[in-house]
Amino acid sequence: MKPKFLIGGGVIVLALGYLIWAGVTQSAVYFVTPSELQAAPVSGKAYRLGGLVTRGSLNWDPSTLNLTFSVSDGKTTIPVRHRGAPPDLFGEGRGAVVEGQWTGEGYFKATHIMAKHSEEYKAPHDTKEAQSKGLIKTLDKGER
């Protein structure tokens, strides 16, 4: 191998390393339970908050598109605000994973809601569901 090619290869590896490093630091999303979020909330950081939608907390106003609810892991409850209609599988007493940010004003601002089935569900394309399923399982174990 000629040195030219080694240098070229080195440049590519460095560039790739930088791209990956920058990508990870800028787009990391932290998976937390309500208790974990309350223990160390950082406003502005991207979170994926998983838990069960508390019964009686769901409030949907079609005219303003404001959707509010709370997510709980049995110990801690976090209020969530979202703009937009509730997704299909979403409902009180069911599991949900909400992506968004902690606002520092006492509520979680959701940008995306991933609802889940509580029964066994085998859609080959639904890993997001599988993810929340895994989470709820973990949560269930924590409660017992």
């Binding site: 790739l16 990508g23 990870v24 994926r48 949907w60 598109l65 089935h117 639904d126």
Partner: protein
């Protein structure tokens, strides 16, 4: 009785596959053709038995045999006829049956095509193919028994996942699996080449069409998957960098690299080791993808206990990788490079860089996909990286690849002179820059978009330059333009097939760039008769109605498009209520166009039908992605045509 026959057939097939794999290897080692012939009969037997099991499974679905757990879980009395057939591969167990059927079919085709032409390699190819079939049959016997009974027999089944009741589900898995399994053939040839020590170009030239076809089916599977995601899931996107998608995308990337690296090997006798490594990597990634998506490992490390299937795939993967590595180490001396790179500015370098970038992209996708596992294992923090990570890292890589797509096919071999560069690239570069400048003047502000579209135009111009020049050359020999072009495509079908595939990639790239840049969406609640406007389209909500379908109830909203060329078009998005599901499923409606798709999802509605919340999207240039799929089909067809003997 039927399920027992199916299970029995699969067990016999497993035995036969193992027997065939062993005797084919013995026949090769001892030089006894009778043993290889016996392996051939075994392969035929395996194919017939797996076909029979597949048909029995279809039969079980068509007759609603709910005593079979798999049937009961994936269908019910209301499932329409076509979806009862596609439900066969609607979940894991049936997918494995389809998968092994395809590998056994491929084995049969290999026997028919290469029995005499690849004498030395052939018995070992048979051994590898039959071993792969045996693995899938083993999976069907132990961790995922498709014909397992259910006690007590339910009166009705659970029903197919409603999201899978779609025509895309007929073709998407089939295309994807044809692609995945198709790589078994070049992989088997590569292993056979290593075992016999004939690591030259023979295995590569023999499997060229196989690799192209497998790559094509995989591409098609990915595109149809995008179409399914777009028109069924109701989020208006076609690609989410979901682990399941990534699992299919990684082997596509390495296979694309392989398609290009073999061209340098044929011409310059370089990169033997690299080619073997790429096909092993591609085949391993198809297994890894299945492991990743079917074992539940990516959801959480703790989900490993969900079934033993993950362990099976992981073990087989380890076996494949270790065997290949051992063989490569054994043949290390013969795999050494034959040719040397002469210059950085040459076709070899362009192709090499293309390979490096494709493998780099594979690595980033791999890294992003397993990142949650890594971070949980290393730091005990659950972190994932989503679409922004993949886009940010891959966009520069893909743009560089598009650039190379213009350079590679035209630049000179060995060492390109200034004259050569000028002759081939002066005009395309000028045209590309002018295109970007015009777009800038038209108000396109994003740098990435300008680069992307400028590069696309540059590559299209290189293809045009090449075609025009070659046609002219033939015309100067006295041919007329159209026959000259036709003769060119036919005579150099590999080259121009490749060009057409490149055009397809460009069309897809324009679709991706356009849709990511110019699509708009809104969400609003409308009263009956009220209008809303988005991206130049006005749409009116005309009301709701209820209906009952064979296996679900439905609430349909009626929306009318008020302006534009498609004024008067009625869009009817719905919510479907399946008794076996706890929640409704959205049914999207849309009007597709070359530039704009108007895309409507019914969000929520008032029970009395007076108002509805609607998600409205105007998605731009998404259709180009599907058109790209058609162009890809044409290009692949041209590339795999039998070569014409050159007339002296």
């Amino acid at each position: 009785m039927i399920p027992e026959i199916g299970t029995g057939a699969l067990l016999v097939a497993l035995t036969l596959a193992v027997y065939g794999a062993v005797v084919a290897a013995l026949g090769a080692r001892r030089g006894r053709p009778a043993l290889v012939e016996s392996a051939q009969h075994a392969a035929l037997g395996v194919f017939l038995l797996v076909t029979a099991s597949l048909l029995l499974l279809v039969y079980a679905f068509l007759t609603f045999d709910f005593s079979v757990r798999y049937v009961a879980n994936n269908t019910n009395l209301g499932t329409p006829f076509y979806y009862r057939i596609t439900a066969v591969w609607g979940a894991l167990e049936g997918s494995i049956v389809l998968w092994s059927w395809m590998v056994s079919l491929y084995t049969l085709i290999v026997i028919l095509r290469h029995r005499t032409s690849a004498r030395e390699l052939y018995p070992w190819v048979l051994t590898v193919m039959l071993s792969v079939v045996a693995f899938f049959l083993l999976v069907m016997t132990v961790p995922a028994p498709v014909f397992a009974r259910m006690v007590p027999i339910p009166a009705d089944g659970r029903g197919l996942n409603p999201l899978l009741e779609d025509s895309g589900m007929i073709t998407h898995p089939v295309a994807l699996y044809l692609g995945f399994t198709g790589f078994t053939v070049p992989f088997a040839f590569a292993i056979a080449a290593l075992v016999t020590g004939r690591v030259g170009d023979f295995w590569i030239t023999t499997t060229r069409r196989w690799t192209i076809l497998a790559w094509y089916f995989l591409s098609l599977g990915l595109l149809i998957g995008g179409w399914w995601s777009y028109h069924v899931l109701g989020w208006g996107g076609y690609w989410a960098w979901d682990p399941v998608e990534n699992a299919a995308f990684m082997p596509w990337l390495t296979a694309t690299a392989l398609l290009h690296s073999v061209m340098i090997s044929e011409r310059r006798r370089m990169l033997r080791l690299w080619n073997v490594a790429l096909i092993v990597l591609t085949f391993s990634l198809t297994l890894f993808g299945t492991f990743l998506t079917r074992s539940g490992v990516i959801a959480s490390v703790h989900a490993f206990s969900q079934g033993s299937i993950g362990v099976f795939f992981l073990s087989f993967l380890a076996l494949v990788v270790l065997t290949a590595l051992a063989l490569i180490a054994w043949r290390w001396d013969t795999l050494g490079a034959q040719g040397e790179l002469d210059s950085v500015v040459s076709r070899e370098s362009a192709f090499l860089l293309n390979n490096v970038l494709l493998v780099a992209a594979t690595f980033t996708v791999f890294f992003g996909t397993v990142f949650p596992l890594l971070s949980e294992a290393v730091r005990d923090v659950k972190v994932s990286v989503g679409a922004p990570f993949f886009n940010q890292v891959n966009v520069p890589l893909f743009l560089s690849l598009i650039f190379l797509m213009g350079v590679g096919p035209l630049i000179a071999w060995r060492r390109a002179s200034i004259e050569n560069l000028k002759r081939n690239f002066l005009w395309p570069v000028v045209v590309g820059i002018v295109a970007a400048a015009v777009l800038r003047l038209l108000g396109v502000g994003s740098f990435v978009v300008l680069v992307s579209l400028g590069l696309t135009v540059f590559v299209a111009a290189t293809i045009t330059v090449d075609l025009v020049r070659a046609t002219r050359a033939r015309r100067s020999m006295g041919e007329r333009t159209l026959p000259a072009l036709g003769g060119l495509l036919r005579r150099h079908n590999r080259r121009y097939g490749g060009f057409v595939v490149h055009l397809a990639v460009l069309v897809v790239a324009v679709g991706v760039t356009g849709s990511q840049t110019w699509s708009v969406h809104t969400e609003t609640t409308l009263k009956r008769g009220e209008q809303t406007e988005l991206g130049g389209y006005r749409i009116r909500f005309d009301g709701l109605r209820e209906s009952q379908e064979s296996n679900h109830g439905k609430v349909t909203g009626t929306f009318t498009l008020l302006n534009g060329r498609a004024a008067g078009t009625v869009l009817q998005p719905a919510k479907k209520f399946y008794p076996q599901e706890q929640s409704p499923i959205a049914y999207v409606d849309y009007r597709l166009g070359l530039i704009d798709d108007v895309y409507v999802v019914l969000g929520d509605f008032a029970r009395d039908g007076t108002s509805a919340t609607v998600k409205l999207q105007v998605n731009r240039m998404v259709s180009w992605i599907w058109i790209g799929g058609l162009v890809l089909t044409l290009g692949t067809g041209l590339a795999v045509l039998p070569e014409r003997r050159k007339v002296a």
